[in-house]
């Protein structure tokens, strides 16, 4: 049903209603206002009209309509990303709110994959797999209550269990994508209509990879097939304190190379630990950096042994064993870990990737900025945390929390300096969005970008998908 009716001003209103229905199309400014930002402070154009498709067939028809009329189109998932990736760069965009497309299509136990509609949220997917005694590899971004699988793999999202399984995109086997002409492509083994969706790399080149991290510029993802694993019920946890950040990062790198942990996360200084978990280090005055480790296995002995090895390893780096409460809380509060931090104020993030060995270098620069702007004196707290990922790199989650609106101007100055220094120390943001794009495009190798634009032009000749993204404009 509809309570706040459409304004019916958007030129495609009637045709979009005929493809879907009146209840799922709206261009009223009251409705649109709720789609004008994601979970960061940045702003761009408001969408022109919101459509909530229910099926791939509807998405196909909408894309055909947009292509025919050369109308820009932007897909949106849970819209709780923190880089502005989902925000339109041009006016009058048709925004697809994909959250109605949230079905689990198939759990294929023979080949250990799950195929879902792209608007399904990570937490819901975990729930559904758990009932069948399976788990995902990568579990979802820290906002996975709301973040959708389609949204995450479109922006190279990273988060829970990336230490063992890599970022969201590593778990993808196949995609179903609606192309700019309205036709559908299935990647991975999906090229063969008679094959199960069991593998990503087969017979031809990896077309899945073209669409992963595309920020919605090359097509609309409607289905995602992910790897699944037997549910592992045995956990061991460890919390380790270090006298220096260098010792902590040396341990982080060493431990990460072994790949024992589901989650291995560093809090880079006492202030970060205090912001995240007030009082945790009160009894450990000498501890400057803190690491939590979570091991998950199908066998208890295996889980115990891995944690023992990690403890032994940590001693070589001078670690203090400080129990496992924080690690347990970290894992049990999955998808609910970050939200209490908002109590400190609105956040300005700098999410990126970097080699583990370059964490101390960037933190030296961050501390200098924090000092320069007297952040703590201004009640601006920070958290510098690094989630180990894949084999030897980590996220750089260095975030400041602005307690009141009047502190925003000063905080933004500090934040912009942080972004510059982070790039200067070898960072590669995992997502781009409004947050990083200008800097990323300036930095990017010309041949790399030219190749991307050739692909874009070939796949989307009328430039309807997320126009202006990756151009570096701000």
């Amino acid at each position: 049903m509809t309570v706040v009716g459409s304004s019916k001003n958007h030129p495609l209103y009637s045709e979009l209603v005929s493809i879907t229905d009146e209840e799922r199309v709206n261009d009223n400014q009251v409705i649109i206002a709720a789609y004008a930002q994601d979970a960061c402070h940045l702003e761009a154009e408001k969408p022109g009209i919101i459509v909530m498709p229910n099926s791939v067939e509807e998405v196909q028809e909408i894309v055909k309509l947009c292509a025919r009329t050369k109308t820009p189109i932007v897909p949106a998932g849970g819209r709780n990303g923190i880089c502005g990736a989902v925000l339109p760069r041009v006016p009058n965009v048709v925004m697809l709110d994909m959250v109605n497309m949230d079905k689990v299509i198939k759990i294929d136990e023979d080949v250990m994959t799950v195929t879902i509609e792209a608007g399904l949220r990570w937490a819901e997917l975990i729930h559904r797999l758990d009932e069948k005694d399976y788990k995902l590899g990568f579990r979802g971004p820290y906002g996975g209550n709301v973040g959708t699988v389609g949204g995450s793999v479109s922006i190279n999202s990273i988060g829970y269990a990336a230490s063992k399984y890599g970022p969201s995109t590593e778990g993808v086997v196949s995609l179903e994508v609606v192309l700019a002409n309205g036709e559908v492509i299935r990647t991975g083994t999906g090229w063969n209509p008679d094959a199960q969706l069991f593998g990503r790399y087969s017979t031809f080149n990896d077309l899945t990879g073209i669409f992963l991290g595309d920020h919605g510029t090359l097509g609309i993802k409607t289905k995602v097939t992910l790897k699944i694993y037997p549910k592992a019920e045995f956990f061991t946890y460890g919390d380790f304190g270090f006298k220096t950040l260098t010792e902590a990062t040396d341990f982080l790198l060493e431990a990460q190379k072994y790949g024992f942990t589901e989650e291995l996360i560093l809090l880079a200084d006492r202030q970060s630990t205090e912001t995240f978990f007030p009082g945790l280090l009160n009894k450990h005055k000498e501890v400057q950096a803190f690491i939590s480790a979570i091991v998950q296995e199908t066998d208890l002995q295996l889980a115990n042994r891995k944690m023992e090895i990690l403890r032994e390893m940590s001693e070589k780096f001078g670690a203090k064993d400080i129990g496992n409460f924080a690690a347990q809380m970290h894992w049990s509060e999955m998808f609910n870990l970050v939200q209490p931090l908002y109590n400190n104020g609105f956040w300005l993030n700098t999410c990126h990737l970097r080699p583990i060995n370059r964490i101390p270098e960037v933190m030296d620069r961050m501390w200098a900025i924090f000092k320069k702007y007297k952040l703590l004196d201004n009640d601006i707290k920070w958290i510098a945390s690094c989630l180990a990922a894949d084999r030897a790199y980590a996220t750089g989650w260095i975030t400041i929390f602005v307690p009141t609106k009047d502190k925003m101007e000063m905080a933004l100055k500090a934040w912009n300096e942080m972004l510059d220094e982070i790039f200067d120390t070898g960072a590669c943001p995992y997502w781009s969005g409004l947050l990083w794009e200008e800097r990323a495009v300036k930095k990017a190798d010309k041949n790399f970008l030219d190749t991307y634009w050739k692909i874009k032009k070939a796949l989307d000749p009328e430039n309807i998908f997320a126009p202006e993204v990756f151009k570096g404009g701000n």
Partner: protein
């Protein structure tokens, strides 16, 4: 190279003076979207599932708290104007508080219900109104009820009964039970009679004013509250009992918040009956086995934090089994009727109620019980709306045929629970550092009790599950057997921590955090955790 914060300079609209008070709180909403799309069933043992019942029907983000705050920010910043669309939109929120309960951005959650009511007050003051709301206000002013019913007919449903002028207990009937859901009033009275309660009703009961507050029309609240209070005083009330969750919330929360004091005890009928059951003054028995589920009225549950009393009463009925819906207690989906939604958009309320009925049907029960005439009306309409045959009954109506006066249902008692309670009572220092009001629920193989901190190292150990605990602690029996052997609180704490950090198959402790970490620390749990060696 600097990035822009905002395209517009912030400018507060002066005529949104009520809403603008919430500007700082809106700043703390980081738009995570949990209030709209969260599913924490697996992640944190919180039973949240798509918490906004209105958004679940209307679809667009504008109807969930995250979107509503974005829109309200735009109103304050004059990016969008007040309009009739805003009036409609503002009255689609049931103010059920589900979003606030889900939200962990602040210690209590971002207070969307209060923001919406503030905006509604601003709308009224700016003359952006729904005509039907004016009719309701006029009716309350002229007739003492929102239904345009003659005030003299209020007590007609009880026939020619002569009510005593004074009594220790007053049954505050409420407008919906008096005029629309009369069966609830009749059965409540019949139940009280059967139980031998010494009670009366107010001779000229006025509307409690809930609907006025919910719709942003506050002018008449003072007059009707004073009229009711005067009558209550004249009747010598020691205890006011109501079967209406909306009236209960108004008397329990809104009336004191508006500056009125009263010295009587206020109980919802579920609390009143729970007390009688606990004291062994009444028991109930169904002649045949029944499976039932219970819908938490938002005004009784999330707003007034009464979750367990109705459940204990239901579970006390011999031959009755309570089955919980997927969303229940603090995360229960709203029925869709509250906050003025049913009066403003009846079809929307029916759709929302229909979804709740479907949720109840999934439990495969015989009966859906609720404890609020407004929820009852909404759910009955919702059932009709989706052609469901699931019976919906209010709690007094459900209980009336099952009264078995004086015989208590014998519940098997876990002897270890009793020993544990005795031990904790003798060792209040375990809870040193916890602030007054801290509440810890204990679960021993499903047997519950709770510790309530009443002061510095002072506790009450209560044999029932807490209404709204901060933390739930789940114990293996062997762990308890060990813990209660320690004379020293420090030894207890150390072993407690060990059972959590290094659990074995037989000796373990698990936590369920019901509050976010910020709020737990504010309540003093840091010291508790440090003593246990957890941090």
């Amino acid at each position: 190279m600097h990035q822009k914060f905002s395209k517009e300079v912030t400018k507060i609209t002066t005529n949104l003076k009520n809403l603008s008070k919430y500007e700082d709180e809106m700043w703390l909403c980081a738009r995570c979207g949990d209030c709209s799309l969260a599913d924490k069933t697996v992640a944190s043992n919180r039973d949240v599932y798509l918490p906004c019942a209105i958004k679940n029907v209307l679809g667009f983000e504008a109807f969930a708290a995250r979107g509503r705050i974005m829109i309200m920010n735009d109103l304050l910043n004059e990016r969008i104007p007040l309009s009739n669309d805003i009036v409609d939109w503002a009255h689609t929120c049931t103010t059920c508080k589900s979003c606030m309960e889900t939200c962990t951005a602040t210690a209590d959650g971002i207070n969307l219900p209060d923001m919406i009511e503030a905006l509604r007050r601003d709308l009224v003051q700016n003359e952006f109104v729904m005509p039907k709301h004016q009719v309701i206000e006029d009716s309350i002013n002229e007739l003492g009820n929102p239904y345009k019913e003659p005030s003299g007919k209020r007590l007609e449903l009880f026939g020619n009964r002569v009510w005593p002028e004074t009594a220790p207990v007053i049954y505050y009937v409420g407008c919906t039970s008096s005029y629309r859901e009369q069966e609830i009033a009749r059965t409540t009275v019949e139940l009280f009679d059967k139980l031998g309660i010494d009670y009366t009703v107010l001779p000229e009961e006025q509307c409690c004013g809930s609907v006025l507050l919910r719709l942003g029309r506050t002018k008449s609240f003072e007059r009707i509250t004073k009229m009711n209070l005067e009558q209550m005083k004249a009747a010598g009330a020691q205890t006011i009992v109501t079967a209406c969750a909306g009236c209960y919330r108004t008397w329990k929360i809104d009336v004191p918040n508006e500056g009125y004091k009263y010295d009587f005890e206020l109980l919802h009928v579920t609390e009143f009956l729970d007390r009688m059951v606990g004291e062994g003054k009444v028991s109930f028995e169904s002649p045949k086995p029944l499976k039932v589920t219970y819908h938490d009225p938002c005004h009784l549950g999330r707003h007034a934090e009464v979750y367990e009393a109705p459940r204990r009463v239901i579970e006390s009925v011999e031959n009755v089994t309570l089955v919980e819906m997927e969303t229940n207690k603090r995360y229960a989906h709203c029925c869709g009727s509250g906050g003025g939604v049913k009066g403003s958009f009846g079809n929307l309320a029916n759709d929302v109620a229909g979804n709740r009925i479907r949720e109840a049907e999934e439990t495969e029960v015989d009966v859906l019980i609720t404890a609020c005439p407004f929820c009852h009306k909404g759910l009955v309409d919702g059932a009709k709306h989706i052609d469901s045959e699931l019976p919906v009954v209010d709690l007094p109506e459900f209980l009336l045929p099952f009264v078995r006066k004086g015989r208590k249902r014998i519940m098997a008692e876990n002897p270890l629970k009793k020993k544990f309670m005795t031990y904790l009572t003798a060792h209040p220092k375990i809870f040193e550092g916890l602030k007054k009001g801290a509440t810890i629920d204990y679960d021993l193989e499903g047997d519950r009790f709770h510790v309530f901190v009443t002061g510095k190292s002072q506790i009450d150990v209560n044999p029932v599950r807490a209404e709204n605990p901060d933390v739930e602690l789940i114990f293996a029996p062997k762990a308890v057997e060990k813990l209660i052997t320690f004379d020293s609180e420090d030894e207890y704490a150390a072993r407690f921590g060990l059972f959590f950090k290094e659990p074995t198959d037989d000796e373990w402790i698990k936590f369920v955090l019901r509050l976010n970490i910020v709020k737990l620390l504010m309540k003093g749990y840091r010291k508790f955790a440090q003593k246990a060696g957890l941090i």
